[in-house]
Amino acid sequence: MTNYLLIQALNGLVIGIIYAVIAAGLTVIFSILKIVNFAHGEVYMMGGYFAYFAIALAGIPPLPAVLVAMTLSFALSILVERALLTPLYSPTTERKGDYGILVTFGISIFLRALALIIYGPYPLRPPSFWPGVAVVGDLVMAWDRVFAGGAGIAMLIGLVWFMNRSPWGEALNAVSQSRESAAIVGINDQRFYMLAFGLGGALAGGAGALVGPIYSLSPSMGLLPDTQAFAIVILGGMGSVAGSILAGLMIGVSESMFVALFPDPSRSLTYAQAFSLLILMLVLLIRPTGLFGRTHVAME
């Protein structure tokens, strides 16, 4: 039983890392554009398919395929941002928050319906990054999961470095704090809106590419991680990348503990889906700013 719990905890840790990558992308978008992106899960889904087709059609090996998926998701996000989100920056747009909610909700519907046509409703499973299982003592874990966890950590480290140490990251932070002041010191805010939305999309797409071999790909695969990512972002505090990462790990581990300890095994999996949603609802009720929320990025 303890072994089972330990394996569940490790699985939860890997899933938590993936959640953290998705949620960190959502946070980047939120802190710069000040919108909640309801289409984030669909970019995640697209990333998974991009990787699949990079492997299946172009014959790219699995590892570079993740990078291809991230690049394509980046491009897709920028396209979406330029086509549909520019009214968010215009001073003449009324009630930008409402616009952001509805338009990203529309994008999610559109992308999901499009995916259903292009990819079909049947689940696809891309080839393994690394076949076989890792065995440490009594513990057994698929290498794919180990790899996904490692790659996820690498993405998160890269993101934290980018946001805190690189000039572009500092510019993003400046735009997040005040658009006007950033413009005064010569930062072209339009470029950084594009960058932020693209970066968030690339993280989601990368996460989608990583989970492809673990779970299967399907057009509706983005629905659940999307709400889970919201739960994480809210728990970690809107706009805090570190908070998102920590909350992602917490939710991932506690969710798989929930599955392991739920008394009725036939229902544990379906109720596990509700678990993070209940956390989301609770956090929204008790502490809407989350654990590490920064006040200057609070929602208008």
Binding site: I107, F110, A113, E300
Partner: protein, 330 residues
């Protein structure tokens, strides 16, 4: 107006059984979309859990009828009451939430409800569905159609009465600026909860009607995709006007069936249409069409034909007096 009314009354005699059933479903969607427009467009509370209330109303009625043998009309009333109670509850806990927080909370609520319905399959039938006694046992759907029409007209009349009354003003005042509304003496708490409870009850009513028409309830009715369809209907018609949202729902439901041979492409088309509407004509296509139509009229006739207030072309910054909205409707 008279032509539309005559057309609506004569509809069952003009079409075959298939299109009649489409007409019944169109009534259902029209009630749902119009009440969502009241909640989102007028009261400014973007709830993505509206279909969850439809599902709650349908399952409440269905389970009462099937398990306890309650007569169907009482079951439907119970569904409405259930939605009013749960709706006030959700409205109460969401009081401090604005915009996206409320949207997130309601998405979570509707997914949790769907998951519970799927999981507790011993009670609800799970994803296999719950068989529900139909309301009428005739050979045609005409009774359903007329009942749906009556429900739609009654709901619409109540909603229009609401938005043209002082309450409608309060709803819009809260939407524009909660603090200013409170400072002006609007009881923000009471009216935010009221808006949620009232619109949820309409959703529950539509749900009960739907359940006892279709005869089998599945958790899919409360899914995010269904919500997307309703949002598309309301936004394409014009989410800031109840009548426009209703027309959008009727139009889109018939379009859904007319384009049946295109299968999945329809959702892509509606998604694209929703995005284009949001991007280029935020007040909805009906308002846009009215503007174009108005522009080609000779000058003296403009704004006289009575559509402008009716379609609620007023934008957020220039709210019209409540009497102007819906003035040409009743």
């Amino acid at each position: 107006m008279l032509v539309a009314a005559a057309l609506a009354l004569a509809f069952p005699f003009m079409v075959n059984a298939y299109w009649l059933s489409v007409g019944v479903l169109a009534m259902f969607y029209a009630i749902v979309a119009a009440s969502w427009a009241l909640l989102a467009g007028y009261a400014g509370q973007f709830s993505f859990g509206h279909m969850a209330f439809v599902s709650l109303g349908a399952y409440t009625s269905g389970l009462l009828v099937m398990t306890f043998g309650v007569p169907i009309p009482f079951g439907m009333v119970a569904g409405v009451l259930m939605c009013a109670i749960v709706g006030s509850g959700i409205g109460f806990v969401c009081l401090r939430m604005r915009g996206p927080y409320l949207a997130l909370f309601t998405v979570a609520f509707s997914e949790v409800l769907r998951i519970v319905i799927v999981s507790e399959n011993e009670v609800t039938g799970g994803s296999g569905g719950l068989e529900v006694t139909p309301l009428f046992h005739g050979r045609t759907d005409a009774p359903y159609y007329y009942l749906g029409l009556i429900l739609l007209v009654a709901s619409l009349a109540i909603m229009l009465f609401l938005v043209t009354s002082r309450w409608g003003l309060f709803f819009r005042a809260i939407r524009e600026n909660e603090d200013a509304a409170a400072a002006a003496g609007v009881k923000v708490v009471r009216f935010r909860i009221l808006a949620f409870a009232i619109t949820s009850s309409f959703a529950g009513l539509a749900g009960g009607f739907y359940g006892h028409y279709i005869g089998i309830l599945t958790p899919d009715i409360g899914s995010v995709d269904q919500m997307g369809l309703v949002v598309a209907m309301a936004v394409i018609g014009g989410a800031e006007s109840i009548v426009a949202a209703m027309i959008g729902a009727l139009g889109l439901e018939f379009l859904v069936e007319a384009l049946r041979s295109y299968g999945q492409w329809r959702l892509v088309l509606f998604g694209a249409l929703l995005l284009l509407t949001m991007r280029f004509a935020r007040n909805g296509l009906l308002a846009l069409a009215w503007q174009q139509f108005n522009a080609i009229l000779p000058l003296p006739l403009r704004d006289v034909v009575g559509g402008k207030g009716q379609l609620g072309t007023g934008t957020a910054s220039s709210p019209q007096p409540p009497t102007a909205r819906g003035g040409g409707v009743s």
